[in-house]
């Protein structure tokens, strides 16, 4: 798989090589200019759920631990200390203790301490007086009983039960430590961090500017004098800006495969990489109402999918097929191929699958003379609409006539929450390639993001079992079993995962694009410009 991808990328862009570009002696200075795809709603990472926030604001902060910024595949073995000097699990795996650095200051000059760690995570768990306006990742800390401090230099996470995944969640770009002395409201407009860059200004729909933090605790870093993000929602203008040299890098993972060809033809020296972004395009099914309360019809739907066709039409073959977890080789938890192909609908013989689907439809009372009439709801955004149209075309083959129902973004989740849909096409991004994040968020009974209300207590027991498992091999097997079961239950059929491109000028050094998440690789502390 890896070699196939490498070959495809090489054919697409001759200069595609490693995601990382290192050079001999780093030079200091220069402003790193990147265009931004849209104007983020605020500057507070903890209150957002889009990487439009992580890319410009991650350089302002530090985490306790962070995924190595130069290893594309995030895993527990690539977690590095940041505000923590070290960490240790207790013998029962119920306490995670961090020894903190003593030489760290906030950008406003106040000292960083363990109290800031406690403040941040108390707020995330909803235990503090100060509240976030919204708290989309509260569920990540469901198993954390409390965060305690021991002096200024030690903080411990006490868990209700062992949860090895916690460390990975803390290493995500979504887990910065906030200062106690700055209110959430101020953090939305003028964020204060400890990171390599200080916030200068955020002009909505215009630009975001960061400047070098001269007091950064990692001596000699950052190399850049600053980072400037120019907000350009129009993709054509943005790409032309990159080609004409107005920008040093495109917005990460935002260049589609057809556009990548344009970039390479107009700027052959540009360095471009194509990576998966761990965002799945999936189908949400309202199984509480007819006709999809009938398991046979749900199964028929899953059998009708020709996943390769989606990828070919939309991404010229640059995509991956898998289950809930990111497919191999970039995904750490992907089911083996032979196991995946045993799942109904994943087998290579599409016509045979559809024949089986038609039989199930006939069993449910539909056939060539009686088609099932439904609506496929989706958001009025191209990345949603386009696959929805292909889906409508594909399910025609199993006696389902569907009409596209495009929904304004502001109405999408309220509509889903009301269960005012029959079949929906949705995109799900995963901040961390970690089963705890994916399973609990999307499939646990009562979870806010479990849009379909899929609830299987037996599987939920398996969620907990894998979550507590400290042996990696045993945990992987459990995860595969769960993923297979979720697909067989047609809980939320995964159609495909796209790959997207990022390009930068050859003089930009030390940029790495992560291959199993789009949310974690933007600290930019050792990026430099060889000009």
């Amino acid at each position: 798989m890896r070699s196939v991808r490498a070959l495809a990328v090489a054919a697409l862009s001759v200069l595609t090589f490693s995601g990382t570009s290192h050079a001999a002696e780093p030079k200091s200075g220069g402003i790193f200019r990147i265009y931004h795809r849209d104007s983020p709603g605020s500057a507070s990472i903890h209150e957002g759920a889009t990487y439009s926030l992580n890319v410009p604001f991650m350089p302002i902060f530090n985490n306790l631990v962070i995924f190595d910024q130069h290893i594309a595949q995030n895993s527990t073995s690539t977690i590095r200390p940041e505000l923590a000097e070290s960490w240790a699990w207790s013998g029962d795996h119920k306490t995670l203790t961090f020894k903190l650095r003593k030489d760290v200051k906030w950008h406003d000059g106040k000292p960083f301490s363990a109290a800031d760690v406690k403040c941040t995570f108390d707020m995330l768990m909803g235990k503090s007086q100060q509240k976030f306006r919204q708290n989309p990742r509260k569920s990540w800390y469901e198993q954390v009983d409390e965060v305690t401090t021991n002096g200024d230099d030690e903080a411990s996470f006490k868990l209700k039960r062992p949860q090895p995944a916690l460390l990975s969640l803390l290493a995500s770009g979504y887990s910065p430590v906030y200062p106690c002395h700055v209110s959430p409201a101020e953090m939305r407009t003028k964020p204060v961090g400890t990171g390599p860059f200080k916030f200068v200004e955020f002009k909505a729909n215009e630009s975001i500017k960061l400047t070098k933090n001269p007091d950064y605790f990692k001596k000699g870093l950052p190399y850049l004098d600053g980072i400037e993000f120019t907000i350009i929602p129009n993709r054509s203008t943005a790409i032309l800006g990159f080609v004409s040299g107005k920008f040093d890098m495109t917005f990460p993972t935002e260049v589609s495969i057809p556009l990548l060809k344009d970039v390479k033809s107009q700027d052959p020296k540009a360095v471009c990489v194509v990576e998966p972004n761990n965002v799945s395009t999936n189908i949400i099914i309202n199984s509480t109402a007819p006709p999809f309360d009938n398991l046979d019809i749900r199964r028929a739907l899953a059998l009708a999918l020709d996943r390769k066709a989606f990828i070919q039409i939309m991404f010229e073959g640059q995509g991956d097929i898998g289950g809930t977890m990111e497919p191999a080789p970039d995904g750490l938890w992907a089911m083996p191929k032979d196991m995946l192909e045993q799942i109904p609908g994943y087998g290579p013989d599409i016509e045979k699958n559809r024949e089986e689907a038609r039989k199930l439809m006939q069993k449910a009372g539909y056939g060539p003379d009686k088609h099932l009439q439904i609506k496929v709801s989706t958001r009025n955004i191209a990345v949603y609409r386009d696959p929805a149209i292909i889906l409508i075309d594909q399910i025609k083959s199993i006696y389902i006539d569907a009409e596209l129902d495009v929904v304004d973004t502001a109405q999408w989740f309220p509509k889903i929450a009301r269960k005012d849909y029959s079949l929906g096409l949705n995109l799900t991004g995963n901040a961390v390639d970690e089963p705890d994040q994916s399973f609990y968020e999307n499939y646990a009974c009562g979870s806010e993001r479990n849009y379909t209300n899929y609830c299987n207590k037996d599987i939920e027991k398996l969620f907990d079992q894998q979550s507590e498992e400290t042996n990696l091999d045993k945990r992987k097997k459990l995860v595969w079993e769960i993923d297979k079961k979720l697909q067989e239950d047609v809980a939320r059929p995964i159609i495909f995962r796209a790959r997207t491109g990022t390009c930068w000028k050859p003089y930009v050094k030390n940029v790495t694009i992560m291959s199993n998440s789009s949310y974690n690789g933007y600290r930019y502390e050792d990026v430099w410009l060889d000009k």
Binding site: Q134, A185, N205, T237, S244, T409, E448
Partner: protein, 315 residues
Amino acid sequence: MFAYIVRRLFLMLVTLFGISVIIFVLLRVVPGNIVDILFDAAGFVDPADKANLERELGLSQPIVIQYLHWIGGLLHGDLGYSYVSEKPALEEILPRIPITARLAGLALLFSASIGIPLGVISAVHQGSKLDYALRVVSLSGLSLPSFWLGLLILMASVSLFGTMPIFNPNPKTWLEALTIYAVPAMAVGFRSAALTMRITRSSMLEILRQDYIRTARAKGASEASVNYHHALKNAVLPVITVIGIEAAFLIGGLIVTETVFNIPGIARFLVEALRWRDYPIVQNLVMFIAVVVVVVNFIVDMLYAAIDPRIRFGD
């Protein structure tokens, strides 16, 4: 004349009041508000948090109270706070006005300075090759969408000069400053210029057939004097009307042009604010645009009166 001005001013106030009610009600009729959008980013809706936030932003109050709050604030110069940036709305809107004003002004200047002379030339040389050529140009201007033209200009610029005239808040040279406004102004003003040219041409053709033009020629007036002094002066009234209407419609054209050329003016800002349902920004911006349109119309009315005394006397 005084009564005429007073009546126009009164009509302006009534129009603005009507617009304020329409904007306010329509915004709230559109499904979804800022809270829905914020929760959309989070991927789920928490009913308790949603209710808290709606209360915090004053969205849970009755619509009449919300309207009175807004209008009361507006009359005291308090435009409220942007829901998104949490900055005063005035602080967000004010810096963007000069940018759009410069762009719109240049576009109108381009439209008038190209459209009127070419319209006159086309009319004077009616049926000639030049006339046909100018009519093709004007038809192209009416047919080409400004976003498409803008993109084409950007592509050509990158391809021919290796650079592109997108917005830079701190231009290094006066030439760069002129380019970043002039090029988009041409892209958006091309359509207006074409329309102005066609109106000027048809109006001129009508005037050139009048008896008094023949009389002027018979009295030995030069062609230039006939065309520009006698004919154009009388033909310009409908042209002024069109330019006035175009000034109002320009804001629509600027939305796409500001997007394509990445100009942080009020037109693009309005679209973004609407996407976020940022009521304080949308309401105040639309009111500002309404004021501009109403004032432009008022000026056009005054110009009518100044150019054609019959309007004053007839009033």
